[in-house]
């Protein structure tokens, strides 16, 4: 049986948005508990092996300490990494290693940024993104037990990845024609001098925005698209928004509790594959809400949406299908009882 990979970002849910907004704090104690609940669910389905990313906060060790005496079939290991650097590099290396190990799925706990790092390296391995961040659009806010059940259904082959996974869209950023990076939800062109504390919260620094998601039920940059009239993004479409002096004002939640008014000069939806040139250079590029790198005025920067994002497990679909196949029925005669 293929193992289940687990990545829990110890740094998610703790950034500057706790100060400049009213972001929820997600402590590592809670992250441990979410993983433990997922492990118990997997164990109940007979999953044999799970590997957890190591991190300087020792989430994996604490999870094993809490769970090990209560697991029947499941063997939980810490992924051997030569040295931890306490940065996104740990996530990158772990996801690469989990892919090499042939994991049936990888549970990714963090925010949009953590999912983005995992998506860059996961290949065809299905991801189960779980929100433990701030403004999360890509990962779901979902109970750990259900996450474990979905991962267990895949690992035990009650359901297959083909049946329950969908490719997510992604935004591709090209520098002088070369693919330089990706975003899953939003790509912002901002006028900040540096990436610094990374989050984007000052509305007057946002020059352009590219979105794969736009919904008024979102918090963060994608909320800007969500509050525009007549925007209905199909999967794989890209919404391009140019901000600046204008009479068209929007008041949106840029972070939890942080309502900001922005001026929108124009916006337009493009179909998958349409390449859009970034206009506002030089600038800093923010990917999924985090300032990442600077681009110069003389660079040719383009963005396009594609449908080549990560394979993502549709949890509800997986659990409904697995339930129809009576995966949770145990004991003598239970199949017929369930049937």
């Amino acid at each position: 049986m293929k193992p289940v990979g687990i990545v829990a970002n110890p740094a998610s849910g703790k950034d500057i948005r706790r100060l400049i907004a009213s972001g929820t704090v997600v402590g590592n104690r809670e992250k441990c508990s979410i993983v433990v609940r997922a492990l118990f669910a997997m164990d109940s389905l007979g999953v044999e092996r799970a590997v957890i990313m190591p991190d300087p906060s020792h989430i994996a060790e604490r999870v094993i300490k809490q769970a090990q005496n209560r697991l029947e079939t499941l063997d939980v290991e810490i992924l051997p990494l030569p040295y931890l650097v306490g940065t996104a590099r740990d996530t990158e290396r772990s996801v690469c290693r989990m892919r090499e190990m042939g994991c049936s799925s990888i549970i990714v706990m963090g925010g949009d940024g953590t999912s983005r790092i995992a998506a860059k390296h996961s290949g065809d391995v299905p991801l189960i993104p779980v929100s433990t961040g701030t403004n999360n659009v890509f990962p779901q806010m979902i109970e750990g037990t259900l996450v474990g059940l979905a991962a267990g259904a895949l690992a035990t082959q009650v359901v297959t990845a083909t049946e329950v996974c969908e490719r997510a869209p992604r935004l591709e950023l090209y520098r002088d024609g070369q693919l330089a990076d990706i975003a899953l939800v939003d790509l912002a062109v901002v006028s900040s001098a540096d990436s610094a504390a990374r989050a984007v919260w000052e509305e007057d620094t946002i020059r352009e925005l590219f979105l794969t998601h736009a919904s008024p039920t979102n918090i963060g940059l994608s909320a800007i698209g969500g509050h525009l009239p007549d925007v209905d993004l199909e999967k794989g479409d890209c919404l391009h928004v140019v901000l600046g002096e204008s009479d068209q004002k929007l008041t949106v939640p840029l972070a939890p509790g942080l309502m900001k008014t922005l001026s929108v000069r124009r916006y337009r939806t493009y179909e998958t594959g349409h390449e859009i040139r970034v206009e506002s250079l030089p600038a800093m590029v923010a990917l999924d809400g985090e300032r990442e790198f600077a681009v110069r005025k003389d660079e040719d920067i383009t963005v396009k949406a594609s449908t080549h994002g990560p394979r993502v497990v549709q949890i509800e679909k997986a659990l409904k299908l697995a339930t129809r196949r009576a995966f949770s029925c145990t004991g003598q005669g239970s199949k017929s009882a369930c049937a």
Binding site: R18, L19, N28, Y83, V85, T87, D194, A197, E202
Partner: protein, 328 residues
């Protein structure tokens, strides 16, 4: 407010200066030209620079003992040459050569550094209370490490700062070690910010190798304090490249730290990381960076010359006893 390019130049310059001073101090200690101990700051200078570069002169500073506060003081805009002289026991020192590294610099609102880890939380509370009563927007910057978070003083100080809404920024420079002991053995949680959250203090984690990230987070905390919104706890996860203090072996628990660990840490050198960033962001050119290093060299050389040429303090008995609480 996010940083401007001018802010980034200030931070980068202070980071380079701190690095040059730190290397000089290590060298001078090895040459026997400092009195007392020296606790090298190499690798862990970004939190102090990021936290103190935008303080006002009126703000109160309790620096971290690593690097003996040079990083913090120079970032606050203080001429640190009297402190370099102090550490050599010279009459021109900020405490007339009598304090070595357990000094104070009251004319610049710098207090601290006793030998007791976590001692600062007690006077910091008092200064915070005074700052609040003064009502002039004064902020207290309280710098300490993860080791201090194991003391009762720290818990009491945090508690009082919370319930009295004091204008204090608690900056935890968490390098994961208390001398040799790993933080994971000494604390039930690796994030010291969790403790402050439990006391209802807004808390944030930041990459302590990234001077720009520290500055942006601390500036938000300073802003809260100046507006009367109370204390903030900023935890900067940093790295200690050298031994705890010169003369002791650099151990992780009971074993020497591995070469692999040093090699990995070197990849996160705060000056190298910041240099990559200012070049990539187009904030500085290589020529300007070279100039900043040259100026830092000159500044350090001048401070060393000042210390070397200053007379050794030789107080009379009467002078010596004039500065103690209970003279005969």
């Amino acid at each position: 407010m996010s940083l401007t390019k001018k802010d980034m130049v200030t931070l980068y310059t202070n980071l380079v200066r701190a690095d040059h001073y730190g290397k000089m101090m290590y060298s001078r200690m090895m040459q026997g030209k400092l009195i007392g101990f020296y606790h090298p700051a190499e690798g862990a200078i970004a939190p102090g620079v990021g936290a103190c570069s935008f303080l006002n002169n009126e703000d109160i500073l309790f620096p971290h003992h690593r690097g003996h506060g040079i990083t913090h003081m120079l970032s606050k805009g203080i001429d640190v040459s009297p402190y370099i002289a102090e550490h050599a026991g010279k009459a021109t020192g900020c405490c007339r050569g009598r304090a070595a590294w357990h000094y104070a610099f009251p004319e610049h609102n710098v207090y601290g550094t006793t030998a007791y880890i976590g001692h600062n939380f007690v006077p910091v509370t008092g200064f915070g209370w005074a700052a609040k009563r003064n009502g002039t927007g004064q902020v207290v910057m309280n710098c300490f490490g993860d080791g201090a978070m194991g003391t009762g003083r720290a818990h009491e100080g945090l508690l009082l700062s919370s319930i009295w809404d004091l204008p204090i920024v608690h900056l935890c420079e968490n390098n994961g070690f208390a001398i040799f002991a790993e933080a994971s053995e000494m604390h039930p949680t690796e994030d010291m910010a969790t403790v402050a959250q439990g006391l209802d203090i807004p808390s944030v984690l930041v990459d302590g190798q990234d001077v720009f990230a520290v500055a942006e987070a601390v500036n938000a905390a300073i802003d809260r304090a100046r507006k009367g919104e109370g204390p903030t706890f900023v935890e900067a996860k940093t790295l200690r490249f050298k031994e705890h203090d010169i003369g002791n072996r650099d151990l992780r628990g009971w074993k020497p730290r591995s070469q692999e660990e040093y090699d990995e840490m070197a990849k996160r050198d705060p000056v190298n990381l910041a240099t990559e960033r200012v070049l990539a962001d187009g904030v500085l050119t290589q020529n300007k960076i070279d100039k900043i290093h040259e100026e830092a060299d000159k500044e350090v050389d001048a401070a060393v010359l000042f210390a070397d040429e200053s007379p050794i303090e030789s107080p009379t008995e009467e002078e010596l006893l004039a500065d103690v609480y209970a003279p005969r």
